[in-house]
Amino acid sequence: MSIGIIFSLLLVLAMLILMGSLLSYLTRPADNAQADSDTLMIDAVNAVLPQTQCAQCGYPGCRPYATAIIKEHELINRCPPGGERTVSQLSELLGTPTLPIDDSCGVEKPVQLAIIDEAACIGCTLCIHACPVDAIVGAAKLMHTVIAEQCTGCELCLPPCPVDCIDLVAPAPTAANWQWPQPT
């Protein structure tokens, strides 16, 4: 009697172990992911971040934040421009649960674009120095303008402008980047 119980327990145990190892074998990471040295992981995280370089996460740019995520186990919800999409991609990448965006960093906004009111610009070059992605052109005492395709909408040029002539606008859809509406 007791032998029977032990036997069946052992059998169940054996089956569990077998299936468990089979499952873990089947869901093993792909070979190329096995070299998960920190730099590779940082690269991967960095690729997911939106490269707005807005520093809203509290780090001076996207790669520093990626480094902090990997090296210092920083939370993955500190990137408002990336929004939920980035958080879910990061959680998938890192195998951590998704989190709502941290309000202290900012809120998720639609894509925007800085525009300089060219009449009001006094050519102080302060915004040029503030732009993290070199999207503003101009020279001292001359009018400045934003290269629309290169602006990431990070808002970093707003505070330094002494005459408040920079606005953020929603980019107008063009024939080239227009999307079909999602059917409902």
Binding site: R63, Q150, P173, T174, W178, W180
Partner: protein, 540 residues
């Protein structure tokens, strides 16, 4: 299960010459036998059914190319332009007149977008630009082709064209009239590599669209010359004119025309099955090759040219650059369906008015393009372009609500791109972009077949269009993000270097100062001593 896909392999049309022997089409996967329903052709008996209308007072020419990128204008505001003058790369002025404005105007677009356009005020003179064609005698296009009957002269024109093809194609501003609007010159000039088959696409498989059929019936001889010029230019081994079996009158007139000019082109009668006129099914039908979506037919030795484009080519050889096209007006609510030749840049509303088709009330939807591939217009005040093959007027329609997919697999049965629409739908809904890529969402030609057969009324094609544009958008965003990162890194390096340079400079200055300090020390001490001694003396 769905369709009576009874592919009757070609009609038994007897063809006079052996050169025009009927070659059996290979067929293609999927597709639908739809009711062709070509209202624009009227009662199907008239020989010529293309009406022409006077160009309007104001024409709006969008400055975008086939990839929807905007192109730089070559004219300025208030500049006088002549008919045929280049407004931008591969875009010519359809009338003579004055450039009134270069501004953003609404264009034919499913989103009702605006794009940069040249607005031309028509002086109604149609003064042509001087081209280097010595055959340009007449400015009226009808007259320009009246000499064609003389075969020898036509052959001379063709020879002239072959000799000057690059410049002439450049001036001709030809774009494909099938709907995609790909620049024809680009296609032809890239074809200099061992072209096996030149396919003249005379299959308009979509219901309601009949512009090519009307053109073939009325101008087959010009088309035949155009085909002849094309096959001589490309030096193709084989030239096939593919027509569907339901276009009996067009087949007849094309056969006569090809016979008349002793063309070597074959006439291939293909079964009428949507989307037989789309590039990939057409190539499958004619040559039996399946061309993967990410490869160009030209690399497989095939090019497809729309039959209307060959007509335009012949006009261009006669000195008339492409500036108009035939547009089918159809649909259940079109009072006076017809085919009409329209200059590019003419507003849709003007065309409807001139043909007595102004919509009776605003419940009527005006569509650009066919019932499957087209879309509803947001406004009718948008200019016709080379891609506008059809304008439909339809009553308001409420689409049936989508039900859950019952996995019937009809969609996969009809898909000409051999995709799995059902699974693609699943993954697009879940926004799994890499899965979609794996299942080749990109290969979808947006034909609408799957959408049409789906018993659950799922908006498959619409979803795929969205998903494709969305995937492209995301890719573009990613590209921008990558660029931004590079610029960011550049800037960081630059700032670091600057900082280093500054530090270096500071160091150097300090160093210099330090080295100068030693000899000065004594002078300073001496000066200090002097001052002290002075103070002492003053105190005393």
């Amino acid at each position: 299960m769905l369709n009576k896909i009874t592919s009757a392999i070609g009609l038994n049309v007897s063809l006079g010459r052996s050169a025009h022997r009927k070659t059996a089409p290979f067929g293609f996967h999927g597709g639908l036998s739809l009711d062709t329903n070509k209202r624009a052709l009227g009662d199907n008996t008239e020989l010529c059914s293309i009406i022409s209308i006077n160009p309007p007072a104001l024409l709006t020419i969008p400055l975008i190319n086939y990839r929807k990128d905007s192109v730089a204008p070559k004219v300025q505001i208030h500049e006088k332009v002549k008919r045929g003058q280049a407004l931008a790369d591969n875009i010519v002025s359809p009338v003579s007149g004055v450039v009134e404005a270069i501004e953003h105007c609404e264009i034919i677009h499913p989103g009702g977008l605006r794009a940069p356009c040249v607005v031309i005020r028509n002086d109604r003179l149609d003064t042509p630009i001087n081209t280097d064609t010595e055959y340009r005698n007449n400015k009226q296009e009808q007259q320009a082709v009246s000499h064609d009957n003389d075969n020898a002269e036509a052959q001379a024109k063709i020879a002239h064209f072959i000799a000057h093809s690059t410049t002439m194609l450049d001036q001709a501003a030809l774009v494909g009239l099938g709907g995609a609007g790909f620049p024809t010159a680009q296609k032809l000039l890239s074809s200099n590599q061992d072209l096996q088959t030149l396919i003249i696409n005379a299959a308009e498989c979509e219901p309601e669209i009949a512009c090519d059929e009307a053109l073939m019936r009325s101008s087959s001889i010009q088309i035949a010359y155009g085909i002849s010029a094309l096959s001589q230019l490309t030096q193709c081994k084989r030239c096939v004119v593919a027509i569907e079996d339901t276009k009996t009158l067009a087949i007849e007139s094309m056969r006569t025309a090809l016979d008349t000019i002793d063309s070597t082109a074959e006439l291939m009668i293909i079964p009428t099955r949507y989307p037989a006129g789309a590039e990939s099914p057409l190539i499958q039908n004619v040559t039996g090759q399946f061309i993967p979506h990410n490869e160009k037919p030209i690399n497989h030795g095939v090019i497809c040219i729309n039959v209307a484009t060959t007509y335009a080519l012949w006009q261009a050889i006669n000195g008339q650059p492409m500036d108009s096209r035939v547009v089918s007006l159809g649909g259940a609510e079109m009072p006076n369906p017809c085919n009409v030749r329209v200059r590019f840049g003419t507003p849709v509303s003007y065309v409807l008015q001139q043909t007595g088709n102004a919509p009776a009330d605003d419940t009527i939807r005006i569509r650009a393009g066919g019932p499957l591939s087209g879309f509803d217009l947001h406004s009718t005040n948008v200019p016709i372009t080379a891609m506008t093959n059809c304008i439909l007027a339809e009553a308001a329609l409420c689409a049936p609500a989508a039900q859950p997919c019952i996995r019937c697999d009809d969609c996969a049965d009809v898909c000409p791109a051999m995709l799995q629409p059902q699974q693609l739908y699943w993954y697009t809904q879940a926004a799994e972009h890499d899965k979609c890529e794996e299942l080749q969402l990109d290969a979808c030609i947006e034909c609408g077949c799957c959408d049409l057969v789906c018993p659950a009324s799922i908006k498959l094609t619409e979803t795929f269009r969205f998903a494709k544009s969305n995937a492209n958008y995301i890719k573009a965003q990613q590209q921008l993000a990558d660029d931004a990162e590079l610029r960011f890194l550049d800037r960081k390096n630059r700032l670091e270097q600057k900082e280093q340079a500054r530090q270096l400079a500071i160091e150097q200055r300090k160093e210099k100062l330090r080295s100068q300090k030693k000899p000065d020390r004594e002078k300073i001490n001496a000066a200090l001593n002097r001052i002290r001694s002075k103070r002492h003396t003053q105190k005393d």
